[in-house]
Amino acid sequence: MTLAFRAYSNSVRVAAVYSMTDISNPSRSSGQPKGERLEEARLRQQAIGVKLRHMFDEVVNEPVPDEFLEILRRADKRAPEGGDA
């Protein structure tokens, strides 16, 4: 009996969610089952993730300007802090 009630209340809740999202976003979600929409949202997030990494890696893969290594080379020749001169 409890189980039956839980199943019933679940289906009511699902129906409520359905109608809510259908009203708030009629063009996109009408006629599309919930699972499919969740899957779509997941795919979209995945796609953004791929692009985000690509954007970052684009810079990582650029050749490092000589300036960086030059600065680091010069750092060696600086007198140590609190130098012993």
């Binding site: 953004i48 791929v50 970052f56 300036e67 600065i71």
Partner: protein, 202 residues
Amino acid sequence: MSGATNPPPKPPSADDDAFKRELVTLIPHLRAFARTLTGDPTAADDLAQDAMMKAWDARASYLMGTNMKAWTFMILRNQFYSEKRRSWRQSQLDQEAAERTLVAVDDPESPVALDELRLALATLPEEQREALILVGAGGFAYEEAADICQCAVGTVKSRVSRARKALQATLEKGGYARDGRAAGDAMRSILAAADRLAGVRT
């Protein structure tokens, strides 16, 4: 010996050499992180160079074998925010950088989806953007990102989650029209480009 005029440099230790070798491998990553923080390539390289030198000067306080990437990212981030606080011109610089970004978007040669992602990223609050970049692009765990941003792990998680939602909403809404294409195409072009990239990658 040879350099008679200069004070003798401290003899390079094995630790210094190892430190420097690792630091050099991190330069590309520091440049990329700086680029996402400043949004401007020139300012980003200045920032990355400053951070590199700060890291070098502070090498005595770095514990070899611990996460040097996270350590240098934290230095770079602190440098960025302290400079930003100092600079009264910052809002003006931001404006100029934003205008340059917009000009870049008008370039017909530039890859569409990436520019739209950059624009959408620029609309995020700073702390959400950096959290998303660190976790979503920089390859850091939530715990490492929390160390870098000096905040709680839960804070990073919620920032990343809010950033993802906001980014998706912005891209789907397509708040900017380009080449007369219908707004909302941004998400479609990102999906298409991501498919291509995923295909290339594997």
